[in-house]
Symmetry: C2
Subunit: 245 residues, 2 copies
DNA sequence: TCAAAAGTGTTCGCACTACACCCATGG
DNA sequence: CCATGGGTGTAGTGCGAACACTTTTGA
C-alpha cells in the first residue's frame, strides 16, 4: 500500500515535472493573404519564392512564429519584413494542419488576411522585385495549401464586409461612391444597383460628404467621402448599431 | 566571380538543408468547448483537472497535437479520450498564442467547439467523475485563457446557428417545436415569439412532422419533428438555398 | 372542471427591389 | 454641342414583428 502510494507520488511528480516533455513539438508558420484594392478591382499580393523549398513558385508571404512573440505579432512582422507595410488591418483566419501540407517538414500554418489600399502603399519592402498583385481569378497555382487559404479568406472577407465596415481599409481615406460600390461589387462578385447602393449607404449615416470632388475620372467630377469612425463607434456603443450592407 | 557563385550555391544548399532548423518549435495544444443542450438550457462541459499544472481547477478538456495527426483528428481524439464520445459535430475556432497563456511552457492552443445532445450521450469516458455540465452563465473561472475561448465560441455559435442548421446537433433526433425554440432562445439569449418562430421554421420546409407526440411535458402532448438532412442538402445544391432563422 | 401547455392567422410597417431620366463638364 | 459618367426618387412587394384566443387532456 505504502509502496503504491509512493509510486503514485513519484509518478505524479514525474508527470508534473515532465508534463510537457513527452509531447511532440512542431513548427508554427504564419501565412498572409493580402487583399488590395486599386479603385477598380480586388487583388491579392503574391511573391515568387527565391528560396527553398519550392523556389521559383508563387506563394503567399509567410514566416515562422518565434518564441518571443504571439501570432498577431508574427503576422505583422512577416508582412512588414516582406513589404515594408505597417499599420495594416489584419485578422486571424484559420489554422491548417494537414500532415503533409509542407513536404519539407511537419509544419502547421496559421493564416491571416490583411486589407490595404494599393495606391497609397508603395512598397519599400525587401522583396518587391519578386512580389506582384494578381486579380483574384488570375492568381497562379500556389504552393502547399495556399490556394485553399485564399478561398477561405475570400469567403471570410465576403461575410465580414457585409456586417463590418472593414471595406474602408481597402480604400484611400477619401473615396467616391462609385469606388465604394466597385469595391463591394468586387468583394461580392456581383453587380449592385447604383441608386439602391447609395440609398443604403446613406441610410447607415456613417460617411461624411466632402466639398471636394474627384475630377480624374469624369467631366462632372464625383464627390469625395470619408468614413466617420467616431460616429460609427458612437452608434455601436449607444444603440448596439450594426453595420449592414 | 566564380567564387561568389560557388559561395552562393553553397549558401543556397545550406539554406535548403537547414531551412527549418533554425526556427523555434512549439507545443501545439487543442482545447474543446463542448456545448450541450438538455431540452431546456444550453450548457458547457468542464473538467476538474486531476493533473498538473493547475490541478484542482476547472478547465476545458484538451490535449496536445501528435506528429501523426492533424488538428481535427487531435480534437476528435481528445474529446473521445475524456468523454468516450464519437461522431460529434466539431469545428475549429481560433488559435490562441499569448506568450504566457500557459505558464508551464510556451504553448499555442487551437480551440474547437463541439455540439451534443446531453441526454442521448451518457458518458463512458475515463474522467466522468471529474466532469460536469455548467449553465453558460454559471461556469466557474477557468485556467489559462479558457474563459476567452468560451466567449469566442458562444459568439461563433450564435452567428452559425442563424445561418446553418447546426442547432439540430444539439437536439435528439426527434424533438418538439418548443424544444427547438428553447434551443434558439438559449443560443441567442432572448425570447422569441412562438407563432413567428413556428411560421419561420415551417417556411424553411426542412422538418418532417411525425405522427408521434411527446407526452412527457404537457397533457395535450406535442408533435415530434425530425430534421430532414437529405431535403436540406438537395435544397442547398439545387437552389443555393440558405438556412436562415 | 380546471390547470397547463399546444396550436393556430392576420394586420401593419419597413426595408428591399426594380427602374429611367436629367445634370454638369471638358473636349 | 455632345459624350461621359454623376446624381437623384418612387411605387410595389415581400418579410418580419406584434399580437390573443381556442384546444386538449390528465389530475
Amino acid at each position: 500500500m505504502k509502496v503504491i502510494n509512493d509510486l503514485e507520488k513519484a509518478e505524479d511528480l514525474n508527470m508534473q515535472l515532465n508534463y510537457y516533455d513527452k509531447e511532440d513539438q512542431v513548427l508554427l508558420a504564419v501565412d498572409c493573404i493580402i487583399f488590395g484594392f486599386d479603385k477598380e478591382n480586388l487583388k491579392i499580393l503574391l511573391i515568387k519564392r527565391n528560396f527553398e523549398p519550392e523556389k521559383g513558385r508563387w506563394s503567399l508571404i509567410g514566416g515562422f512564429l518565434k518564441k518571443n512573440e504571439n501570432l498577431d505579432q508574427a503576422a505583422v512582422r512577416v508582412l512588414n519584413a516582406l513589404t515594408g507595410l505597417t499599420d495594416i488591418y489584419m485578422e486571424q483566419l484559420y489554422t491548417h494542419s494537414k500532415i503533409d501540407r509542407d513536404p519539407g517538414q511537419r509544419t502547421i500554418s496559421v493564416s491571416y488576411y490583411a486589407l490595404i489600399d494599393v495606391e497609397s502603399h508603395k512598397f519599400d519592402g525587401i522583396q518587391i522585385d519578386s512580389a506582384r498583385w494578381f486579380e483574384l481569378n488570375e492568381a497562379p497555382n500556389l504552393i502547399f495549401d495556399h490556394n485553399e487559404m485564399i478561398q477561405r479568406a475570400i469567403a471570410r472577407l465576403r461575410r465580414r464586409a457585409l456586417t463590418n465596415p472593414i471595406g474602408f481599409e481597402l480604400l484611400p481615406e477619401k473615396f467616391t461612391m462609385r469606388q465604394l460600390q466597385n469595391l463591394y461589387e468586387s468583394i461580392l462578385d456581383k453587380k449592385l444597383d447604383k441608386r439602391n447602393f447609395i440609398n443604403k449607404i446613406n441610410s447607415l449615416d456613417v460617411l461624411i460628404k466632402l466639398d471636394e470632388k474627384d475630377m480624374t475620372v469624369s467631366r462632372k467630377g464625383a464627390y469625395l467621402y470619408v468614413f466617420d469612425k467616431d460616429k460609427y463607434q458612437k452608434k455601436v456603443e449607444e444603440d448596439g448599431f450594426i453595420f449592414k450592407i
